[in-house]
């Protein structure tokens, strides 16, 4: 637990099981759910000796949510929602899914990866995982059941796992340097039976999706994604996104 988070007065509740977490969530609807807390701390009020939560926190980092990564009977990978990203990055099973490994490598600095979780990144909404899950087929497993991932959709219950289907594809993160950087542009592409499913996001904004197949007009693809992500056509971000889309889809159209 970070030293900055130990000072009074936030009330820390360490859930002992998913049911206990649900009980705490019901008792304290305003409480925040915390596992790695790396993103949460960014929004906590700053004090002289660091930021502190100003309300109750339900700590789910110790809950048993299954193995970090496992292969399901249908070939999908199941990832425990509260497993630290760095453990996931090192897991041999994620090595079988290169695009996922690329996401995990570039998603945050090593210090952040040691604490942060895939579930946290996804629920935070502003992280890179949402774009990935918008391109690659993804299911969300909660205490309320299982359903396909839809960005921005609130979950019923507590998130337990993320399931994703390993297919060929890519993750391109354009940041401000090679190491830990907020994503300036994230472009993910998954090769499915019906084409190349693209998902793009610029500076944490709207996630735009486009399916590339034989019917797609390549010239306008970059412009379409720029428009759907809300970019000004003449902006630097738009120039990068267009060039990146052109480069990544060139082979597909060829």
């Amino acid at each position: 637990m970070p030293e900055t988070a130990t000072a009074a007065p936030p009330l820390w509740h360490r859930a002992t099981s998913p049911d206990d977490a649900l009980r705490l969530m019901a008792e304290m609807p305003d409480a925040v759910i915390a596992a790695g807390m790396t993103a949460l701390q960014l929004d906590w009020p700053a004090h002289l000796r660091g930021s502190r939560a100003d309300g109750p926190v339900i700590d789910i980092s110790g809950l048993a949510m299954g193995p970090d990564v496992s292969v399901l009977p249908d070939g999908w990978l199941r990832i425990a929602a509260n497993a630290p990203l760095e453990r996931l990055r090192r897991d041999p099973l994620t090595g079988t899914f290169p695009a996922l490994r690329t996401l995990l490598t570039g998603i945050a600095a090593s210090g952040v990866r040691a604490l942060a979780t895939l579930g946290g990144n996804l629920m935070w909404g502003a992280g890179d995982a949402a774009t990935f899950c918008s391109a690659f087929e993804t299911r969300i497993v909660t205490t309320g059941g299982q359903h396909p991932y839809r960005p921005g959709t609130a979950n019923a219950g507590l998130l337990l796992a993320v399931e994703t289907r390993p297919v060929d594809g890519f993750v391109e993160k354009v940041g401000f340097r090679a190491g830990f950087t907020p994503a300036r542009i994230l472009l993910a592409g998954a090769r499915n039976s019906d084409g190349l499913q693209l998902a793009a996001r610029v500076r944490g904004g709207v996630i735009a999706r486009a399916l590339v197949n034989g019917a797609t007009e390549p010239i306008s693809l970059g412009d379409r994604l720029c428009a759907d992500t809300g970019l000004e056509p003449g902006s630097e971000d738009a120039a990068i996104l267009r060039a990146l889309v052109a480069g990544r889809t060139k082979d597909y159209f060829a």
Partner: protein, 754 residues
């Protein structure tokens, strides 16, 4: 990142020279503000939320009445008229009715707990009347701009002319006209500005990182109107300086708070405070015209620069002077006209920063040299060799200088590093840049360039150099120990250093070694040791001879102590520790400056040269530029501690990478765009390329020093090499730094239209 040793064999190293490295890497090393004595009060500072405003109301009463709040200071606690600064003393410790930058201190508090101090800040009543923000240095120098200081907004200017530059340019076969804007860069030292001050009677002890402890002591003594020897300053070790701890930072506020109480006071800035109030690298706007004849011989330069020094001068004048001295680089320009100006604005404070002045202008110069080389059809390195300043030529400002034959040796060594034949595939475009620079070491003719030190035995019997030079992680402690061990032919365990403190003994009043800046630390230490060693060795041997009852000439110094020359035993006949109480051993040393005797007042006498090769890879899809490899060829003489030397080069190169590719802190209406590292993009290990250091270890045989400082020159060479690599790959030079991906994509589109 890897640093490779030179092609020459590096000597084995004593691990004791690096005793602090492990603790620093683990985060357990204790810096000056890390240890608070019991009863220490906690300082906090009320800062202006406006970049330019008049303070219309300030009431400290409510804060003063709070239980647990021990000291509250406001503008009236600053002695009337007191200002500090190096050349222009224009900065008050607390705003005197007018704030000139966002984050300027308005009042300060010392309380029993940090929480109380924070709460007391909130009780201070303050009101401001905002004034128009002077955010653009060009606008700042217009006649109708609001004047930020009584003398107007021109902080400093520079002019130099040799020959008829315009006429020569008009006659040039090839001419380049180049404009470049450079960014505001942060030092980003991990140790924040902070310290502890404690008044004891009529004396004050300040423990705060400083690259010039005596400058701090003199400034604080002047502020408190007491004798300088009443102020004791411990300024070392420093958790990263890079120039950011060369001027005063928290010391004046600490001193004012501590002077009003008998308890120690601790004040450490937060990262956000440091970002707002800390010094930055000066943004420059550079306009350069250079020309050569049909054979590629340089004819003339016309240069104009404008630097943004922010609200106060700090080291601004020195930065501009250095920029204008180094803008001709390592080359001979028969004709030159140089004009530089520096403007006050409301954009924070710019100050000293590793490689200052030179790093900005030599980016423009080296890019311009490449453009000229391309016009003449001459290879960039060959073009440089053709135009290097002669070894015994006058300096760039027509000053006399220590001959510099190593420039040609650097170029020769650079030619031995062929470009890699890496396959980059269709996605990437490769480029190689070469740069060859030089920069003055120490201070210009105006000095101060002298230094004092002492040689003696410490209580454990180790031969010790005492100097006020400071260790900021650059390796000076290790270098001085290596110098001592070599000079006295003893073991590394027989020597010690005592650095970074003003001497509390008023009888000696020293030793004041001057600032540890401008890459001067190592050469000052070496010259002090070299001058004092014969006398100290003689005193030691006389004392030992008296103890052993033998003749002085029968003794020699060696590992562990004194050895009878004739006996040749493998242990000393008398250990050094036997003489720790012997009287009269200590030798006070004073050395003068190596200064130019003619030429511009800002001119240096001693120059350091360095070459750099940058191999870059450009991503055609994203416009991202990645440095794959740096090859650095510094000419600093034989490295004292090769690992530290390589570290200085590698660190400088990565800081250069940030300067050119990722780092900038722009302002909007006087407010910085980021207040933390999440919005300011320092390079990380992931950005750091392979770095090869291949030093030229020879200097002229009659060189008066025998080494050059390594602190800055790697940065100075590496930064322009990246721009030159961009020119090599794209045939163009960016108009501003850091390089924008959009500009790269536009150049790619120009080269390879779809």
């Amino acid at each position: 990142m890897t640093t490779s040793p030179s092609s020459e064999l590096r000597p084995p190293q004593d691990r004791r020279l690096f005793e602090t490295v492990d603790a620093k890497a683990r985060g357990t090393f204790r810096y000056l503000a890390d240890a608070s004595p019991p009863g220490t009060l906690h300082g906090a500072v009320l800062r202006s939320p406006h970049p330019h405003a008049r303070i219309t109301h300030l009431d400290l009463a409510a804060a003063r009445e709070m239980p647990g709040v021990r000291v509250v200071i406001g503008p009236e606690d600053v002695p009337p008229g007191f200002r500090y600064g190096l050349r222009h003393q224009d900065q008050p410790p607390l705003a005197q009715g007018l704030v000139r930058y966002l984050g300027e201190p308005v009042a300060a508090i010392a309380a029993e707990t940090p929480e109380l101090a924070e709460a007391a800040l909130a009780r201070i009543e303050v009101a401001y009347a905002p004034l128009p923000t002077v955010a653009d240095p060009v606008a700042a120098l217009r006649a109708d701009a609001p004047a930020l200081h009584p003398g107007g907004n021109l902080c400093h200017n520079f002019h130099f002319a040799r020959g008829e530059a315009e006429t020569a340019l008009a006659a040039a076969a090839h001419q380049v006209d180049l404009k470049l804007e450079t960014p505001r860069q942060m030092h980003a030292a991990l140790e924040l500005e902070g310290g502890i001050a404690h008044r004891q009677g009529d004396r004050l002890h300040i423990r705060a990182p400083s690259q010039d402890p005596f400058y701090v002591a003199r400034s604080i003594a002047r502020m408190l109107d007491i004798q300088p020897d009443r102020v004791r300053v411990t300024g070392s070790p420093i958790g990263g300086g890079f120039g950011g701890k060369e001027d005063l930072h928290v010391q004046p506020l600490l001193a004012l708070l501590a002077w009003q109480t008998d308890a120690p006071v601790r004040l450490v800035l937060s990262r956000a405070e440091s970002t707002r109030a800390g010094f930055k690298r000066h943004p420059f706007r550079i306009a350069l015209r250079i020309g050569c004849d049909a054979e590629g011989r340089l004819l003339a330069m016309v240069a104009e620069t404008l630097a943004d020094t922010g609200a106060y001068a700090s080291h601004g004048p020195e930065v501009l002077d250095t920029a204008m001295e180094t803008i001709q680089g390592a080359y001979a320009f028969p004709h030159a006209r140089l004009d530089g100006r520096q403007a006050y604005t409301n954009n924070g404070i710019s100050g000293a920063f590793r490689g200052f002045g030179a790093s900005q202008v030599q980016c423009a110069l080296e890019a311009g040299i490449d453009m000229l080389a391309a016009k003449t059809g001459i290879d960039p390195l060959a073009f440089r060799r053709l135009n290097l300043a002669a070894a015994d030529a006058d300096g760039p400002l027509d000053q006399d200088m220590v001959p510099q034959p190593e420039l040609a040796w650097i170029a020769e060594r650079m030619a031995r590093h062929p470009a890699p034949a890496d396959a980059h595939g269709a996605r990437y475009l490769a480029g190689r840049g070469v740069a060859l620079v030089r920069k003055g070491e120490g201070f210009g003719r105006d000095g101060p360039n002298g230094a004092e030190g002492r040689l003696g035995l410490d209580p454990e019997g180790r031969i010790t150099l005492t100097a006020s030079l400071t260790d900021m992680g650059q390796g000076i402690s290790a270098a001085v120990r290596a110098m001592l061990a070599e000079s006295f032919a003893v073991s590394p365990g027989d020597v010690a250093v005592r650095l970074g403190r003003t001497d509390p003994d008023p009888a000696t009043g020293g030793p004041d070694s001057g600032a540890t800046s401008a890459s001067r630390g190592s050469q000052i230490a070496l010259r002090l040791i070299r001058k004092g060693a014969p006398e100290f060795r003689d005193r030691l041997c006389r004392a030992a001879a008296a103890e052993l009852g033998c003749r002085v000439e029968d003794l020699t110094l060696g590992p562990g102590g004194f050895h009878r020359t004739a006996l040749r035993r493998n242990h000393p006949d008398l250990p050094f520790a036997a003489l720790t109480t012997a009287p009269g051993l200590e030798v006070a040393i004073s050395i003068g400056g190596l200064q130019a005797t003619r030429g511009h007042p800002a001119a240096h006498s001693v120059f350091t040269g360095c070459g750099a090769l940058a191999d870059i890879r450009i991503d055609r899809w994203t416009g991202a530029v990645r440095v794959a490899r740096f090859t650095l060829v510094p000419a600093c003489g034989p490295p004292q501690v090769p690992t530290s030397f390589d570290g200085q080069m590698a660190g400088g190169a990565v800081q250069a990478l940030g300067f050119v590719l990722t780092e900038t802190l722009p302002t909007r209406n006087g407010q910085f765009a980021a207040d933390n590292f999440d919005g300011y993009f320092l390079p990380t290990f992931a950005d750091a390329p392979q770095i090869v250091v291949d030093p030229v270890t020879e200097l002229a045989s009659d060189d008066p020093i025998g080494l050059r400082g390594a602190g800055e020159i790697g940065l100075n060479a590496a930064a322009p090499a990246i721009l030159c690599a961009l020119h090599d790959a794209l045939g163009a030079v960016p108009p501003s730094l850091p390089v924008s991906p959009a500009w790269v994509l536009a150049q790619l589109h120009r080269m390879e239209p779809r």
